[in-house]
Amino acid sequence: MGQYFIRRILQVIPVFFGATFLIFAMVFALPGDPIRALAGEKPLSEAVQREFRTEYHLDDPLPVQYGYYIGGLFQGDFGQTFRGEPVLDIMKDKFPITARLALIAFLFEATLGVVAGVLAGLKRGSFVDNLVLVSTITVVSVPIFVLGFLAQLLLGVQLKWFPIAGVQHGASSYFLPGMVLGSLSLCYVARLLRTSLGENLRADYVRTATAKGLSRLRVVGRHTLRNSLIPVVTFLAVDLGFLMGGAIVTETIFNMPGIGREVFLGIKGQEGALVVGIVTAGVLIFMFANLVVDLLYAILDPRIRYD
């Protein structure tokens, strides 16, 4: 187990360099001139453009630029945007918002999803089962921005239960976007669990457990559910990684200044340091989430061992 853990941690190093270089190269390859675009339709004097290019090493070849970036990184300098804002400050400012949003979405999809999946899976063909099936397929088939607008109009403008936009209303700001963001995955979780529970309920070990005279609660709770959760946990972990990477559409509709929007703007403005910083952090979070899942498997399924 310990060895496995160390091996997994060491894997992070090549992935880190690979990811940073790849993203750096991709931003480098974007067409157009980011400095010229800073001033929009207005002109920018030649001398000013030259100052920008010198300061940001924009005239150097790719490997040199990457070298400057990595060199700075090892001294704790994440670089700065063309507006002069330190990338680290932006990440510190934006990640907590994305994290809170992700947490709400994750809790929402995990709890409601599991409850709905269990209810549906235990009584196949029942009213509850049909309800879950119909409602989930409805949500899955609606694009997220439509869901977002609907939620805003219904729960924000009409009923006035939630603020529509921004983060200035404290915790209540996060509920509506969190639920919209988590709604799609909620459906997947419910459907995934329903199917896997249905299959496992027919498995031999369940019949044995029932035959032993165990109570229904124990059979389902201890034996069946634990096994059925493996695909759900896999999905949830990957999803958490996605959520932490930011959600451009939801963040934009609900005016949440999160990491997804920042990356989008970064790519548009060809802000190399910003995009690499955020995306690399995202990659690391993703890898960490996966590691946690793999370790969780061993707890959920005694047959899985890491040696």
Binding site: G84, H169, T252, N255, P257
Partner: protein
Amino acid sequence: MRQMKRMSLIALLMALALVAAACGGGDGDDPGQTGDDGGGATGGEFSVGICEPQFLMPGNTQETCGAQVLQGLFTPLVEFDPDTAEPSNVIAESIDSEDLQTWTVTIQDGWTFHNGEPLTAQSYVNAWNWAANAQNKALNSYFFGNIEGYADLNPEKGKPETEEMSGLKVIDDTSFEVTLSEPFSQFPLTVGYTAFYPLPDAFFDDPDAFNEAPIGNGPYMMDGKWRHDREIKVTKYADYSGEEPNADAIEFRIYADANTQYTDLIAGQVDIIDSVPTEQLAQAPQELGDRFVQKESSYFGYLQFPLYADPWGNVELRRAVSMAIDREAITTAIYQGAYTPAESIIPPVVPGFRENVCDVCTHDPEQAAQLWEANDGPSDIVLWFNNDGGHEEWMEAVSNQLRQTLGVKTKFESMAFEEYLTLQDQHELTGPGRGAWVFDYPSPQNYLEPIFGCDGSSQEMGYEDHGCEEAQEAIDAGNAEPELDAAIEHYHRAEELILEDLPATPLWFGVTQSGYGEGVDNVIFDVFSFVRLEQVEVVDA
């Protein structure tokens, strides 16, 4: 089958109920209403929806959202009447010149910055020198390009050897002298622009810190720091020397999406928004009633021709394209009045506007087809534009009109704005391309020289090699004419000459479409499409 249907309907209703029930928890905290403690005409607090500013410092702010905030934090030398664009002195006592080249600016005594520093002539000279200096990478640097000594701060190579322009001289605390490289009658108008605001000494200690909490000389001062992507709060400056503003405080709410901003206005969460998005224009007049504002803006949209690329050097072909476009149809069908068809270069918002100056801007499909035929117009036209600014729809419409009228095949070359700008600069367009302009100061000159001048800062058509000289001469004559009416006559001549050459064809002028909520009154949008913040009155709810 019917059973199934009913079943799923019930299921759907239940699902909705479930969702509704799940959300019940967050009740009770009715989202905040702003400005309900106001007392009629003065006092109170209101909010304005804007986008995230790029910068909050005069030398760098060149987009509208930052400029709107700075408009509250700074008071300019001259300001413009919201309706007529007539200039009047505010901080300036006088701006005079005998030869239109050496200008003496006298300012009023007794004004102060928010940190208590007195506002002096030096505050202007320092600010302008800083912005002009290439080393400071100020986006507004080129605004000072016509001041003597600008080239010393922007050398072709290497670092500048001085930090001051020779054309700026402080005479005493309340007056300074500006020497321009050429006579320029419109100079007093230019100093109303954001780039020409004064700066306190505190700025030069740490420009980056200043950017987060600017210290101005205006009616409102910062209340805390700029909270990026969230809000900017300002409050009344107690020692303000100008006319006292109506409201006590303003919160600028920052929105990433214009649709969300609009929804928030409808929900009563924000009081004033800077624009109504195109998608909402159909219902906005009903939803907002007389709180829906429409006002001519300074936006000028045009289609520019790459004179450097064959066959667009032929003026007859350019005229044919111009006549083939039905501007009226596009503005009404696609934009529902958000733009008005342009038949001149000088727009209605500046002095010197005339209707129907451009003959070839009138839709005339027959003559267009004839001209195209007679001049061996090519069978293919490539249309260039940036695809990240909502230009697809009208480009599509223009393309259809060209196809039908001229019998050509059309192709689109669209790309991100950044790339489009670069291609424009490098003269790599192969067909007509999108162009747009918003003025910096309300003068007809601002629509002629920057876009169509021989060295125009935004002139990308290659006009410099295709007979720009005559038009430039007329512009220069206007610049050297002290009387406004006489100057405008020269500008009119320039406008006519340019339309004769047609390096670009006018398409439409913009209309600001904005709105405000029931909590505020006396919301005036000026010629820059900015809300006159100091005029807004908070109404008792």
